[in-house]
Symmetry: C2
Subunit: 127 residues, 2 copies
DNA sequence: AGCAATTTAATGCAGATGCATTAAATCCCC
DNA sequence: GGGGATTTAATGCATCTGCATTAAATTGCT
């Protein structure tokens, strides 16, 4: 029932990780940030956008930060809130990953009735 | 992009776990076994059916076995292979969980434009 | 028959996730 | 203004997952 989607997601995960050192969830966060006005969003806004638990998102942001792709900044309007802002590095990483993302989606949507799962073995799609 | 599906899956996960003490992946395995002739399948056949890595499936089966829902049995045709067979307990658990599974799916498909994610907070759907 | 290549399932290990809890800041009602 | 309820983000903890490796059994080629 959820296999098709899981395969696409797994393929995104593998390929993005291999080529750009970014997981699929991480890419999704970068994507939301890229869409945002100034590449800057509050953690909570991200939480509404990405379908991860709050804790998972928190740690994901920590990973992105230590990778230098985003920075966390205090929010002076509401000092509970934290802004997450893309760095230049983050922007370029996202830009690179974006084409891969689209490529994988396209490929999966055309190849799904031809290519086996490539989950158990190491036959990563296009890798 | 994958949020709708992830929400449905998460909801299945939560609800099946809460009500029947069975995860969504575990349910899926039980379901494949239930469909099988004699409620019995080789590990590899399951692997082809459920979209999990081989190792994850192996451990999942171990969990199901310690829960008493399946048993592993040697396969005398090919002594590398392992048969996974539902127990009576496994059958009834699956039967119980099946209605929940259907209920959640139906609910999500009708409520998805009304109900918020219910992921971050403890507002599990229907729980 | 003999032996390398392959297939099958289990396991070590590291990483990601979710739940529950925690700490800080804000809100709101008195 | 004061104090409890609420919101926001981080963290401890347990669990699940996938990759790489391993061990056993089978297959196939000579």
């Amino acid at each position: 029932m959820h296999c098709r989607h899981a395969m696409i997601w797994a393929s995104l995960e593998r390929t993005l990780q291999d080529r750009h050192n970014v997981g699929a969830s991480e890419y999704e966060v970068l994507d939301r940030l890229a869409e945002a006005t100034h590449g800057k969003l509050r953690v909570q806004e991200l939480a509404d956008a990405v379908c991860l638990s709050q804790s998972a998102l928190s740690r994901l942001i920590a990973r992105l930060e230590s990778a230098g792709l985003v920075v966390r900044a205090m929010c002076d309007m509401d000092r509970r809130g934290i802004f997450v802002e893309m760095t230049g590095e983050g922007r370029s990483r996202h830009a690179e990953a974006r084409s891969t993302h689209l490529a994988v989606l396209g490929e999966m949507l055309t190849d799904q009735w031809v290519v086996p799962p490539s989950l158990s073995k190491s036959a990563g799609p296009k890798a």
